[in-house]
Amino acid sequence: MAVARYIKDEKDRILDVILESGIHVKPVYTPKDLEGVGFSYEKDLADPGQYPYTRGIHPLGYRSRAWTTRQYTGFGTPQETNERFKLMISHGQTGLNVAFDLPTQMGYDSDDSMAEGEVGRVGMAVDTLRDFEIAFKDIRLDKIGSGLTINAVASIMLAMYQAVAEKYGYDPKVISATPQNDILKEMIGRGAWIFPVEPAVKLVGDTIEYSMKVLPRTNPVSVCGYHIRESGATPAQEIACAILIANAYIDNVIARGHDVDDFVGRFSFNLNVFGNMWEQIAKFRAARKLWARNLKEKYGVKKPENLFLRGLFGGGGYGLTKAQPENNIMRGAYYALVAALSGAQTTALCSYDEAYTIPTPHSALISLRTLQILMDEMGLRDTVDPLAGSYFIETLTKEMEHKIEEEMERINKFGGIIKAVSEGYIQRLVARQAYEVEKGLESGELLKVGVNIYKEGESMEVELHEYNWESAEKQIESLRAVKRERSQKDVTRTLKDLEVATKEGKNVMPYLVECCKAYVTVGEMTNIFRQIFGEFNEPSLF
C-alpha cells in the first residue's frame, strides 16, 4: 500500500495507477466522477477564504500576498550565520529559518563531550544569549520573522529569542518567531527528542500558553507532517499524524483552562511536497478542509481566522537524489510549483546538494531563485487555486480526504496518537513502508531518474561545504569567556528558580527567559529538565 505503482502491459501502456495513499487514478475524469464522490461546491470547496478553506485561506490568495520564502540557513559560529542571514535577506528572502547544530538541538553545550565533532556542523551553535546577540545583530526583528528549527529545547530557544529581542530594544509583542516545537514528530522521524512524551508535550503546552500572553505574534508550534513523510509515511498518513499531533497539543492547553479560540490561530504546519504531484495537491487541499472541520466540529472553534491551516509546504528532501545531483534543481522547481498550486503560505526548498552536504551559498541561492521565478515570472500569483473545478483534482481531493480520515481512525483505534508514538506503532509502520519503497526502487517498480532509469552520463562534482574545526574551537572559547564574565550569583538564582518551577509543574517559560538573560547556557537549562523529567525510552522496532 505504501508504494505507488503503475500497472503496465508489455507495450508500456498504463493499465492502472495506484497512488501511495492507495487511491486508484482513472484514465479520464468527467462530471460523473464528481457526482460519484458526492461533490458539492458549497460544502466541499466554497470560495477561497470561506469555510472549509479547501481553496485556500485568503480570498485573493497570492494576489494579496506572495508566499514567504524561508530557506533553512545556519552553520558554524553565530557570526558566520549572521553573515549568511544578511546575504539571504539581501537576495530578497523574506523570512529566516534558523538551523541549529545537533548539540544545541539536543541540549548540550559546545564544550560537552557529547558535542565533539558536531559543533556548528549542521547548523549554528548556540550556548548562551551571547550567541543570539551575534546571530541576530542588525536584523530587524520587528520586520522579519524567524523560524527556529528546534524541538526538544524549543522552549529554551523561544525564551532566548525573546531575551535577544528585548536586549535590542524590541517589544516582545512585535516579534514573530516560529519555533518548530513539534516533539511528537521527532519521536516518529528525525529523532531529536530528549524527554519522555508527557513532559515533552507539557513543554509544548507551556510555550503555547506563554505566547498567548507575552508573544502574541509568535507561532509557538509548527506541526510537522514533513518529517513523518520523510521517514516513510504515505501522504495520507502524513496529514493524519499532523492533525492528531496538533490535537494533542490543543488538548494539553485546553486542560489548563484556556479557550481554544485564544491560541489555535497561531498554529502552523510544515508539510512535504515530494511524490506524485496530483496526490500532493489533493493532499494539501484536503488537509485545509479537514483541519478546519476538526477545529470547528471537535473543538468548537468560533473565529473563522482560527480555522486556517497556515502552512510551509516545501523541502521534499527524500525526493532528491545523490545520483546526478543537478537533476535535483529541476525536481526542486517542480516541488515549488506543487507548493504554489496548493496555496502554500510559506515555502523553502532542499538544495540540490543536500544528499552530500549542507547547502553552499550558491546552491541555497538557486533554491531561492527557483521560488522567485515561480512567483514573479510564471503567473502563479494571478488567480487563487487555479486547479479548482478540475474533475480529476476535485475527485482526488475528496478521495484523499477519506484516506486521511481512515488513517486517523486507525491511529485512534490503536489508542490515540500519544500511545501510538510512545509504543512505536507509527514508527514501525513508517519504517516498514520506507523499506517497501526501497525495495520498489531496487526492483524498478518505482522509477527514479538517474537512480534506476536513465543512469547514463556523468554526475557533476558537488562543491562541499567544509566543516570548520576552528569555528568549533572559537565557539568553545566564546562560551568560556561568557562563563567567566557572567554573574554566577544570577546564574545560580535563575537556575534554582527554574528547577523549583519545573518541579512544581508551573509554566517554565518566564523562568527560562530569566535564565537566558543571566547567560545561563542551553546545557545548564536542559540539565534541569533532564534531571526532573528523565529521557524518552525509544520503543524497540525489531
Binding site: 556542523r121 529523532g191 531529536a192 526501497e438 566543516y467 525509544e538 524497540s540
Partner: protein, 134 residues
C-alpha cells in the same frame, strides 16, 4: 556436518543525529537476507556501541551517520574497538558520505562504505561475501 554460521550485525546510530530511515531500511533488508540484526536505537555513544558489539557478540558493526561527522566518529569507534580487543569485527559505514571521504574511511580500516543511494543488494552482497570469508 558443519553448520553454516548466521552472520550477526549491529546497526548503530552513533552521536546526536536522529535521521534513522536509512539505518532501519538496511536493518530490515539484512534481516530479510537471512542475517541476524541488532539495532542500537538513537543517540548512542561510541562506548555504548562497542559494549553492545561485545555483549551481542556480533561479527560486523554498521554505522549510519547523516550529519557529516562520519570521519571523527568512525575514527573514534575503530580506536575504541582496538582498545577493547575487538578489531577482528568488521566495520561498515553508511549515510551522507561524500565520495572523497570513502577512501579516507577505508584507510582507517573500514571494510565497506555505502553512501545513501547505494542499492540494498550491494550492501547485502558485501556482507554475504564477508560471511563466506569468515
Amino acid at each position: 556436518m558443519e553448520v553454516k554460521k548466521r552472520l550477526k550485525i549491529l546497526i548503530a546510530k552513533p552521536g546526536l543525529d536522529g535521521h534513522d530511515r536509512g539505518a532501519k531500511v538496511v536493518a530490515q533488508a539484512l534481516k530479510e537476507a537471512g542475517m541476524e540484526v541488532v539495532y542500537s536505537g538513537l543517540h548512542r555513544t561510541i562506548d555504548q556501541i562497542v559494549n553492545m558489539a561485545i555483549q551481542e557478540d556480533v561479527d560486523v558493526v554498521g554505522l549510519s551517520i547523516m550529519s557529516g561527522a562520519h570521519i571523527p566518529i568512525t575514527q573514534k569507534l575503530i580506536q575504541k574497538m582496538q582498545e577493547r580487543g575487538i578489531s577482528d569485527k568488521l566495520v561498515f559505514v553508511g549515510g551522507v558520505i561524500p565520495t572523497r571521504d570513502i577512501q579516507k574511511l577505508k584507510d582507517m580500516g573500514v571494510a565497506g562504505v555505502f553512501p545513501g543511494g547505494t542499492p540494498l543488494s550491494e550492501t547485502i552482497a558485501f556482507l554475504q561475501s564477508v560471511a563466506k570469508k569468515g
